[in-house]
Amino acid sequence: MADLLLEIGTEELPAGVVESALEQLQAAVTGRLQDARIAFGQVETFGTPRRLILVIHDVAGSQTDVVREVRGPAVNVAFDAQGNPTPAAQGFARKQGVDVEQLEVVHTPQGDYVMAKVFEQGKPTLEVAAAIFPEAIRSLTFPKMMRWGNGNLRFCRPIRWLLALYGGEVVPFELDGIHSSNRSRGHRFLAPEEFEVRTPAELFHQLHERYVLYDHRRRREVIREQANHLAEQAGGRILWDDALLDEVTHLVEYPTALLGRFDPTFLSLPEPVLITAMKKHQRFFAVADAQGKLLPYFVAVRNGNDYRLDVVREGNERVLTARFNDAHFFYERDRQQPLEAFVGELRRIVFQEKLGTMADKTARLATVAQQMAERAGVNPSLAERAATLCKADLATEVVMELPALQGVMGREYALLSGENEVVAQAIAEHYMPRSAGDALPESALGRLLAVCDRVDTLVGYVGALQIVPTGSGDPFGLRRAAQGVVQILATAEGMPCLWAIVEASGRAYAQQGVSVNEEGLRLLAQIFSQRIEALLEEEGIRYDVVQAVLAEERAEPFAARANAQMLNALPMERLTPVALAATRVRNILKAGEAVKLVPAAAWQSPAEWLSQVDVSLFRHEEERVLYEVAVQHRQQIAEAASGFRSGEVFALLERFTEPVNRFFDAVLVMAPEETMRRNRLLLLAGVDALYRYIGDFSRLVV
């Protein structure tokens, strides 16, 4: 038992890749150790911009021995009539390294075969690791890979050293000309020279001495503590931003935070502009007072110690002043004209090559938002106004400089231009939710615009161009857009139906000469259903319930969620009888001949099905009863369903259980006369359509 250590020394890795690379490295090495039958204990990983470290404790000295059973030729080939081994058997035995007498016979369904039991002695770990390490390193993938020098190896940045040890010995391997060794390096500036180590503990001790805080979790906390301390000195607190803290953590090996100042007159700029300029341009943390108001300070983190920190502070202050001067200049320029004046500039910004410019998108949005406004309970002219202005800030100088401020600046400039506050708020909110865990728009108009904007993007990319996100890739943010739509529509009451918006959006594209096609809409329906499925599963809804409520191709997020929550909460003694009755109806409609007589593909409302039923063809009391129950309740069910009162719909459907069961017990649906058969199937299709207000009950496990 000894520790296995690998350190991949690189040139500065992008901040975003380190933790994923460590996870991949750990999985790649431990997976291969397991496959190689080498036992190991605890695993640790550490990363900095210049190194990926993997330590595996208590690794066995060699592979466990095994006896492998190798199947050879068939018995009748291996032995002659006298039972003597043939050359085939002798050859097989020789190849496996066993005596021919040691061959055994196995009985298999394909017949009897000879079999050799081959003993394999485990190889030493040092030797196995020497094969595993280069393979594991080659297996790592990054969003962008590169080659360097004369080499062929592809990695994220050039690899400059490989420290590989097992029990004090170098694990010997070569990777595209780079040889493993027992040497590492310290901080690039503070301790650049190479040094030798024998164990992980020695490496960690040396790195500690040589200005490398190798543990990224610890480094993050050190930065947090230092920054908090400095902000306190300035009488404020840090406005923490986790993404920024993560990035800074991976930009430095030895963090030293410093407090800088800027001219307080810059505080006249909108705070988001200052905070975003500090974050995006300089990776500075902003400092605010107890009320959350920005103070004229920042915290920067240096990659080094505190030697001549004043020089670093001065340089950082100077560059921030230049950035703020720029921002101030842009802000003043933008303010010289009303926000509306920028709408025309959107002709100069492409939305998508085949889908037109942002001006085209804005025109579509204005049409759709206005059409959908009343159903969302908002004033149509305000909706049109907000839609017209919502992308205008993309043409402003501040947003061109700092794209992260889109929406935020739109609100700012809208208010300065005297726009309605509701409009300004919607402009800011229509980008929400910006990520999976982000808040949803608070205003109804914000929600409407957020949904219409994303639906427009999806109808264009997927519906018209059939561009869909693949397994891991979503370069146009389509999956995220669909997720935003579903999150908003599934949880907010009083919103228009998803598919009404999709249709309106399709018409708006058609007016601009872009046509949406059936295949595209089918793909779009799939994407939406997948997002609804994910949302419901996240909320702990049973899998079969999710399948039941998403059975229709074009699912509605709000209805699906309401139905799913209702079904999920029902006791089985209520759910089961309804599900069984509904399934009886469904199954017979799915049968071969029924499909021909009553094509289910042609979706009709319950009323449409029932209006085709001819009561004069009824021969049984049970037919008449079921028909009457259906006719009597269909209106009520439709109303409850359109009000998303799922519980009420279900309670009404419970009244069908007995009539349905009696019907099936008494009536032969597939009667010899076709008119009779068809009439009965039409009645059942009407009942089925009523059940389907909730979903496909036959998918439920009851």
Partner: protein, 296 residues
Amino acid sequence: MTFQELLLRLEQFWAQHGCLILQPYDVEVGAGTMAPGTALRSLGPEPWNVAYVQPSRRPADGRYGRNPMRVQHYYQYQVILKPSPDNVVDLYLDSLRALDIDPLEHDIRFVEDDWEAPTLGASGVGWEVWLDGTEITQFTYFQQMGGIECRPVCAEITYGPERLAMCLQKKDSFWELEWAHGVTYGEVDRHAEIEHNYYNFDHADVEMLFRLFEMFEAEGHRIVELGYTHPAFDYALKCSHVFNLLDARGSISVTERASYINRVRALARKCCVQYLKQREEMGFPLLKAQEALAVV
């Protein structure tokens, strides 16, 4: 340290480390990368270690001389090392030391920044290098040029000498930089800068520029077919500059933009492919000069 001293020290440093010192290229380019000393020479197996100052023009970046660091004409100090040496980052840091920038007294950071030049069909992976928060260098490992994979890979180090000088001289604007003792950068370049800005944004003859683009493009294709790669490449550069002027004039709609970029790229790519073929037919002559061209 004056602006000219800074450039001289870089010349001296890279000359001492085995680079050929080239002179600036005489066709308008948007960056040192576009000069044939980089764009063409980065292709193929021949070693190539060079350094040069490259005056660069980006018409749309001008601010009529009113912005302290946004200009349509500026300088780049360009270093190309092919193949990229293992100690390339250390060499770069030594070059900063040669400018009296001691990494221990400053904060030097390598921040991920991948690079792409659509008109050249070029892309690379690397960093922007920060000195106390100011971006002073673009550091790139070329992966593709003219759509052709770079093998071996070269390292491109592009210094922003004005920004470096701002840090060293503690000045807040290009214009205040000391070019030489007693003469400022503004005194040398600002007059021309302002005139060029008015020309680029307000007065350039759009009709003429469109005609020039067509003529340059046609001439480029005509002579590349005749086998004259370098003259043809000059026309690709001229097309690129005319395109940039039209862009600054706001005369190219977004929908046309991509097609103009594609046209420049198509010509540049033809030149790159032909250059590589010609060098191969010549037996890659600089392979023999392996040692003379080595970086030390």
